[in-house]
């Protein structure tokens, strides 16, 4: 049975189901049991599972990540939350030197089954330190897994798969996805880590999209279709491991590739995808392109951030140029301000 749930409800339900079936699952982070419950994703859990398993934490990100690693090594399955990914930058020592290494460097004798949820902010003046999309850093490190679901279905299925995984999983959520709705099956199901999903089939160009950019890519695909260009949209879902097969097979078919990411272009995960496809020797009709963040920190003023984030129109124009097609200048009128995902969002974060 499927019903429509919001992305945030899917996260909450996945956590609830895992805690109900496995007493070693616990969730911890600043504000986890507070009245807002990490934007709603942890609401109601402490009432059901108690203050030990659903725990607030001191504002000690690196130390508490170490605590979570210790919990995981000693038989628990902790989920750690960060209301902004930027705070998790404080935890790189424990994540990179410790969580990612203990299984390897102790010859397979230690396991770190933990999930670290990080939320990427956008808009409403989040600015330089509340908006960073640093998935490429984590995806660079052997020993970590990295996932970035887009749909409510995948948010639930990937969170369950991540909680059940015996490795440290970096689970990155884009804040602008929290209120989107979609069909979500009841009960426990898993979306395999490392599997991409073809969101829309097409024959002329492959658009590989990460996280929120998958929604922009779908919008772009609609517009491109009206100009006779059939775009295949792939939601990557997992960055480490990533589904090389699905992407390469698609580009082999379409012979054109655009990658769009919520992160920066230089040294970003988009570079890894383009490089891998190139290494595979896939013949392409035109050079691949990337639609990512420009090379600056995130500005705060809406007047500046409106020009910072790539949108569907940027993907459309990039694709059109690859086909030598001129798109009409006028697009659908902008009906909502550019710094919020939809009219239900009224800030502040």
């Amino acid at each position: 049975m499927s019903r429509d749930l919001k992305f945030v409800q899917a996260l909450n339900e996945a956590t609830d189901l895992c805690m109900a079936k496995d007493s070693s699952v616990q969730i911890m982070g600043l504000g986890v049991p507070d009245p807002k419950g990490v934007f709603g994703s942890t609401l109601g859990l402490q009432e059901k599972y108690g203050a030990e398993r659903v725990s607030d934490l001191p504002t000690s990100e690196n130390g508490m990540t170490g605590v979570a690693i210790g919990l995981a090594l000693a038989g628990m399955r902790p989920i750690v939350t960060h209301i902004r990914l930027d705070f998790a930058v404080l935890t790189l020592e424990q994540l990179v030197n410790q969580a990612a290494k203990w299984h390897y460097m102790f010859g397979g004798r230690m396991r770190v089954p933990m999930v670290v949820r990080m939320i990427v902010g956008r808009g409403w003046g989040q600015g330089p330190q509340h908006s960073q999309s640093l998935q490429a850093w984590f995806a660079h490190v052997p020993g970590l897994k990295v996932v970035m679901p887009t749909t409510p279905h995948d948010a639930k299925g990937l969170l369950i798969a991540s909680i059940e995984d015996d490795n440290p999983v970096i689970f990155i959520e884009h804040r602008w996805l929290y209120n989107i709705s979609g069909p979500v099956p009841e009960g426990v199901y898993r979306v395999p880590i490392g599997s991409a999903r073809v969101m829309r089939e097409g024959t002329d160009i492959t658009i590989v999209a990460i996280s929120y950019m998958a929604l922009e890519a779908l919008r772009a695909a609609d517009v491109l279709a009206s100009h006779g260009i059939s775009a295949e949209v792939i939601d990557l879902r997992s960055l480490r491991p990533w589904d090389e097969r699905t992407v390469i097979d698609s580009v082999r078919k379409t012979r054109r590739l655009v990658v769009t990411d919520t992160g920066w272009k230089i040294g970003g995960f988009s570079a890894e995808i383009v490089a891998r496809v190139a290494e595979d020797g896939v013949a392409m009709a035109v050079p691949p392109r990337r639609v990512c963040l420009p090379d600056s920190p995130t500005p705060t003023s809406p007047a500046l951030s409106a020009h910072y984030y790539p949108r569907a129109v940027d993907i459309e124009e990039t694709v059109a140029a690859m086909f030598g097609v001129d798109l009409p200048e006028v697009h659908a009128p902008v009906t909502i301000p550019l710094d919020i995902p939809d009219m239900s969002f009224s800030g502040p974060f």
Binding site: G63, G66, V67, G70, G75, M76, Q98, G107, P113
Partner: protein, 330 residues
Amino acid sequence: MHTDTLATVDTGTVRGLHRDLIRIRLIDERIAALYPEQEMRCPVHLSIGQEAVSVGVCANLRRTDRVLSGHRSHGHYLAKGGSLKAMFAELYGRATGCTSGKGGSMHLLDLEAGFFGAVPIVGSTIPIAVGAAWASRMRGEDRVVVAFFGEAATEEGVFHEAINFAQLKRLPVLFVCENNLYSVYSPMSVRQPEGTEVYQVAAGHGVESAQGDGNDVVEVYTMARAAIERARQGRGPSFLEFKTYRWREHCGPFYDNDIGYRTPAEFEHWRRSCPIERFEAQLRDSGVMLPEELASLRREIEQEIDEAVAFAKSSPFPDAADMASFTYAE
């Protein structure tokens, strides 16, 4: 605390403390002797001079209790009962090593003995120890966790983050600081304000804290006994600072007094305070152990070391095909 304190410890324990002290000393001295052969191809941070802290603390622990440590971990690993053969094999990079050749001297592990891991990033196992203690409580296991670290670790943020949390949750953890005065070659005077006593910094977090003579194994033993008992009774964490001294170079088998970061007088002061010589003097004075027994004890340990080295040197290297194995848990 001297002979009078000795009287409060039973004879079997006294003999055990003595044996462990000598054993750790002889093992690290053997590493120092063999290291120039260049067959142990990993950095080694020897425990020589600091053995009494490892021995005095671990003598109070059960096998099911857990110990974590840092870069200078040989003493902690051995005092907790870590396998000597697996340790030597690890130093020699062999497949039979305690981490199958993946870790080396800086990443010792022996789960059966309760040695729960060591890493060289200063202070990084402190929060992990706290997490392990929390897990044990949540799972209803009766375990105490000990985190060993040097005084430089108390300059790390994670130390303060972890000890605050341990006190907040009243976790069964013992924080043991071996204050050997130097972080590599940097003395306390360039790292902490004049007059700072490390144990008082810990006390600022509300944790039961005390300072002791780290070269007096009986003092370490009795102080740790009280702290571990406290943790076992669910009365929360403690912090013990023990002043001690590393004899050899920060990393490697040699002495480094010639490079000028510490004075000959300082070194000589601490060498005269050798934890083994001091303890043996106490033993002789109290008639617990006779000189001929000491000689046979040393012979017995040397033989154990011979066997472990032979085991290591005759063990196979890991297969090249295993280079990337264990990157992920299956």
